[in-house]
């Protein structure tokens, strides 16, 4: 299946190929993003790592690190 991930920090959108029943955790692994550093939302709802994704889902990845 394919999931569309919009990364807020870089304002980049990327299409990610994932196996069926893949979760948020799988998506972040594929994108090499540490789950501790982001919030993931779908339809403006926050998802936890074990949440299953569906084909053609669009998710937003929001970095929580402010730095400085």
């Amino acid at each position: 299946m394919q999931v569309i991930a919009h990364i807020e920090r870089t304002k980049k959108t990327t299409k990610v190929e994932l196996p069926a029943k893949a979760t948020v955790k799988h998506l972040l692994e594929k994108l090499a993003v540490n789950p501790v550093t982001v919030l993931v939302t779908r339809d403006q709802k926050v998802l936890i790592e074990t949440q299953e994704l569906k084909d053609k889902d669009t998710v937003k990845i929001l970095s929580v690190v402010s730095g400085g």
Binding site: L39, V46, I48, T50, V64, G68
Partner: protein, 307 residues
């Protein structure tokens, strides 16, 4: 997986693996912050509070919760923002800060480097080779303390979270500045100088991710932007390392801070003599460890007089 309290959709999983829905997460967060305020007796009747507000998620969450608490306790709350003059960054966060204060009817004062020191951080860095976070941190801390005091504050709150504290502790450790750690903790500024306003950190035990989640769920007007000067900063690099450890070994940051809190009384005792040595800046009258405070030392380099 469902919320352990009401079986609805979860938004967060606690370190003990308990999932929480939005409503129960907000309750968990607020209860923990309230416990921190009460445990450390951060505020008492008669206090006047100034909360430092950058317009980011941490300071906004901190101000919101303190405003709620102080309204019940009859403690006046004001917000203080510092405009360092960082292009393509501070303008937006100050706009967010103003929107937030207008919504909750909190008086907001903005002090700028430009007006107070005669330069912006951007212009200073253009002309001087210096770590931007050091120059910014020194001047910002100065203005927060002075601004809070001039607003009549007996306490000044900052949005420092667990990640910030763990990073600072490691930075001090790595740089061999352990005496600086004696000045950390949930409540600081006990140094005996009449110009110091005591600092409180109500978000001390909340991780950066927890604070971000709270701000998002509460729909605060926060733009998640990173300071352009943060790239390559030692703090940011250390934060990445800590987050890698946190992912592998959950509870790492909490462990660092808890261990520190156990030795903090001994550290403060050990560096007591340093505390007593706090004097007054010959140039501006603010607290200083040497003849000049660090802000005046900075200004001395460019020969600017504070207003």
């Amino acid at each position: 997986m469902a919320c352990k309290k009401c079986q609805t959709e979860p938004v967060y999983v606690l370190q003990n693996h308990a999932p929480l829905c939005k409503q129960h997460y907000l309750h968990y967060f607020e209860k923990k912050v309230l416990k921190t305020i009460r445990t450390y007796k951060m505020l008492e009747k008669g206090d006047i509070l100034v909360s430092a507000l950058s317009g980011g998620k941490d300071s906004m969450t901190c101000l919101y919760l303190l405003h709620q608490y102080c309204q019940k306790q009859g403690i006046p709350v004001k917000a203080l923002a510092i405009d360092e003059g960082i292009e393509k960054y501070r303008e937006q966060t100050l706009k967010d800060a103003a929107t937030f204060c207008k919504t909750y009817k909190i008086p907001l004062t903005v002090l700028s480097f430009k007006k107070m020191f005669g330069f912006t951080l951007d212009s200073y860095l253009k002309d001087h080779k210096m770590n931007p976070c050091t120059a910014c941190g020194i001047s910002r801390r100065y203005l927060i303390n002075r601004g809070a005091r001039e607003l009549g504050a007996t306490k000044v709150a900052t949005g420092h979270n667990l990640d910030d504290e763990a990073q600072t502790l490691l930075m001090n450790q790595f740089k061999g500045n352990i005496s600086l750690s004696a000045k950390l903790g949930p409540m600081t500024g006990a140094l005996m100088h009449k110009q110091f306003v005591r600092r409180i950190k109500p978000l001390y035990f909340m991780t950066e991710k927890e604070v971000a989640l709270y701000a998002v769920l509460m729909e605060f007007p926060v733009t998640f932007v990173e300071c352009p000067n943060a790239e390559g900063a030692f703090r940011l690099q250390l934060g990445e390392v800590l987050n890698t450890w946190e992912q592998k070994y959950p509870g790492t940051k909490q462990g660092i801070v808890n261990s520190f809190l156990e030795i903090l009384p001994s550290l403060r005792e050990q560096f007591k003599s340093t505390k007593q040595a706090i004097g007054t800046c010959e140039s501006c009258g603010e607290p200083a460890a040497k003849t000049l405070c660090r802000t005046c030392e900075l200004l001395e380099k460019i020969k600017v007089k504070k207003k």
